[in-house]
């Protein structure tokens, strides 16, 4: 298994899809000549030429719309939204156009496009370049939403996203681009969408994570005196209900760790489902570990406090296991 950075795994996944399918095209701001600001499309222009790898104007609505139209008529576009916030000016194309085309053509048109976007805090990019914003997409039937949690699954998930017949939003935690991992490559390495990954088995508690928080959960489990089962959801729409329910049915406790605001974060869906299905079997309330409901701060100390850290996750989970009751979050005076 080759060892590479997450951005290299992403570039290789795109290149391998382009080699196997001539309809795959790549466009976005600075993706061609520059190879992407995060080097996630490095080398594609040289290998595949300017017809298939194109720089666009700063025009997210324009090029995301073009991706919808191209996908509906025989191409398989992979577009890059440099920072997920830039999707805001083009959201219509995703949630109201691309994801509704199939429905509004009586099922005759498919829209196989992949929207890649860098997400998340941790690098000091401040309030307008650090959000995760997956909640913008989750309640929009017709879309799928997946996230890499490192180089290890970035390659396989992205290959599935590009092969998928529906619009897929593929999130890339920005602070993991430079982190190396062992990556299984090749056409057999695709990871099906909708399938969670048990990163580590455990008995006392199930910790469900997604994207950037998978590493936080794994680090916590390694330091913990209790035995935690770590699940990387990998895909939020559709999320792997079976994997989570089976795990929590065994451990009887669920902690969800999310890099997004507490209110209305993706974990609320998981919590609701588990609490409803396993009502009576749980030995503790479902705990969500998130950021507070505030914008992402700039300064390093504040940003570190803002993000759910390993030590914070440990303190919260420990409290849950020891007392069987719900800890308050740190901003309400809870354990940290």
């Amino acid at each position: 298994m080759p060892r590479m950075r997450m951005n290299q795994a992403i570039a290789q996944a795109i290149a391998d899809e382009m080699r196997s399918d001539p309809t795959v095209v790549v466009f976005g701001e600075d993706v061609a000549e520059a190879g992407g600001p995060f080097k996630t499309t490095d080398g594609l222009l040289i290998e595949f030429g300017p017809n298939r790898v194109r720089d666009t104007p700063i025009s997210e609505m324009g090029f995301l719309g073009a991706a919808v139209g191209a996908a509906a008529t025989g191409l398989r576009p992979v577009v890059e939204i440099m920072f997920i916030e830039f999707l805001g000016v083009a959201l219509d194309q995703l949630v109201t156009q691309g994801s509704k085309f199939r429905y509004l053509s009586a099922g005759k048109v498919t829209v196989p496009m992949t929207i890649r976007a860098s997400v998340g805090a941790g690098l000091g990019f401040a309030a307008q370049h650090s959000q995760t914003l997956e909640s913008w997409m989750l309640a929009s039937p017709g879309l799928k939403v997946a996230s890499a949690s490192g180089a290890e699954n970035a390659y396989g998930l992205l290959r599935s996203a590009i092969q998928d017949e529906d619009p897929v939003v593929f999130l890339e935690p920005r602070r993991l681009y430079a982190v190396r991992g062992d990556v299984k490559v090749g056409s057999n390495a695709a990871i099906p969408l909708g399938q969670a990954r048990i990163v580590r088995s455990g008995e006392d508690v199930t910790i469900v994570a997604f994207g950037s928080t998978v590493r936080v959960a794994v680090d916590a489990a390694e330091q913990a005196e209790f035995s935690a089962e770590i699940i990387d959801l990998q895909t939020l729409v559709p999320w792997d209900r079976q994997a989570v329910l089976e795990s929590v049915a065994r451990t009887k406790r669920l902690v969800i760790v999310e890099e997004n605001p507490y209110s209305f974060g993706w974990g609320t869906e998981i919590a609701t489902k588990v609490a409803s299905e396993l009502f009576g079997d749980l030995e503790a309330p479902v705990l969500r570990v998130t950021t507070p409901d505030v914008p992402v701060p700039f300064g390093k100390a504040l940003e570190e406090r803002f993000l759910p850290s390993t030590s914070y996750l440990l303190a919260q989970t420990r409290y849950l296991l020891e007392t069987g009751t719900l800890p308050r979050p740190w901003w309400e005076g809870g354990p940290t």
Binding site: V25, N51, R52, R54, T56, P57, S59, M61, G62, F63, L64, G65, A66, A67, V68, G69, A70, A71, A72, T73, G74, L75, P77, V89, D92, Q93, T96, Q97, F101, R102, Y103, L104, S105, A106, G107, K108, V109, T110, P112, P141, G142, K144, D164, E165, D166, G194, V237, P238, R241
Partner: protein, 358 residues
């Protein structure tokens, strides 16, 4: 400041503003080199659109069409002229005012009316309705209800044709109001930049919903005056003359097919009714409305065909045949079943709709 504003009563009642009168019809267009049978075909198509839309309006009044409708009464020449110049595999993108464009591309009016009535036999099994008529088998790639969005999507279809080397051209219709939203500017910029085989057609009917377009636009011709910003020529035509539309369409589509890039056309026309079903259009000066009714595209075309020697009886026969087809389609739609709840869960995801989520 406030005194000055009161001096213009049009600011309080648009119907009191000076009327925007049409340019006179162009009898010289009789001599455009268009085969007489093509012209008769365009007459029939305009009749078909007009009569189907009038029927849609009647069905609405009978409470058989729910929601809303946006009619193209008075604007039929544009859809007709363009569709006639297109190849069967070319793509059309239209707005929620899309009945005319759907019919002009050859959609079965039975399926159109059934869709308006929300029936299972409709184009979209009754799941789209008036604002979303789509018929991909006839190259009608959708009616879009968010202003400007489909110009960007049309570019993608055009680019895809260019990449696949199919020679297909995309024609994208929109209203004057669209020229003030960002999507218009992003899309035209993009198309010009990538020399896409796309024709953008602004149907300037002088009103942005309930507001006169000139009150919300800093230039006289909302599309044509903006063309130069994207290195395109200003093409301003009479949208109530199917022949003028047709020759313009032929030229723009040929250019696109030859790989010479996009054209932005502004076709000046008039919406004889209100913006939507809910709007009686009372804000229009009566003199203006009358002048445009006098310039009705079908009436003028009828006169042209008579001047060109087509017998009145043939035109009457065509209109009567269309009326019969519209009656048949109405009966078909009314007799069609409403879709069952099983249709509610389908056509969402390619891999099985809501079931797949479990």
């Amino acid at each position: 400041m406030s005194t000055e504003m009161r001096a213009d009563p049009g600011l309080y009642d648009y119907a009191l503003r000076p009327p925007r009168l049409p340019d006179p019809p162009k009898p010289e267009n009789d001599h455009l080199p268009i085969d007489i049978e093509v012209r008769v075909g365009m007459y029939e198509m305009q009749q078909l659109i007009r009569q189907t839309e009038k029927r849609a309006h009647d069905l609405f009044l009978q409470n058989l069409v729910k929601g809303t409708t946006h009619l193209s009464l008075g604007m039929e020449a544009i859809a007709t002229g363009f569709a006639r110049a297109m190849r069967p595999d070319d793509y059309t993108f239209a707005t929620y005012r899309g009945h005319a464009h759907t019919i002009a591309r050859g959609a079965d009016i039975k399926k159109v009316l059934a869709e308006l009535l929300g029936r299972e036999t409709g184009l979209l099994k009754g799941k789209g309705g008036s604002m979303h008529l789509t018929d991909v088998e006839h190259g009608m790639m959708g009616s879009y209800a968010i202003i400007g969005a489909h110009l960007c999507i049309a570019n993608g279809a055009a680019w895809s044709s260019q990449m696949r080397g199919t020679g297909q051209v995309t024609v994208c219709f929109f209203g004057d109001g669209t020229t003030n939203i960002g999507a218009f500017h992003e899309a035209v910029n993009f198309a010009a930049l990538w020399k896409l085989p796309v024709v953008f057609v602004c149907e300037n009917n002088l009103y942005m919903e309930y507001t006169p377009i000139d009150l919300v636009t800093p230039v006289e011709h909302p599309a044509a005056d903006r063309a130069s910003a994207y290195g395109l020529e200003a093409v301003l035509i009479d949208g109530n003359d199917a022949d003028e539309v047709y020759v313009t369409a032929e030229e723009a589509i040929s250019r696109a097919r030859r790989g010479e890039g996009p054209t932005l056309v502004e076709a000046v026309t008039y919406r004889q009714g209100g913006h939507s079903r809910a709007d009686p259009g009372k804000y229009r000066p009566s003199e203006e409305l009358q002048a445009w009714l006098d310039k009705d595209p079908i009436k003028l075309y009828h006169q042209r065909l008579l001047r060109l020697g087509v017998p009145e009886s043939r035109l009457t026969e065509i209109a009567q045949d269309v009326a019969r087809r519209v009656d048949e389609a109405t009966e078909f739609a009314k007799a069609s079943p409403r879709p069952g709840p099983e249709h509610l869960l389908t056509d969402v995801w390619a891999d099985g709709g809501s079931e797949w989520r479990n």
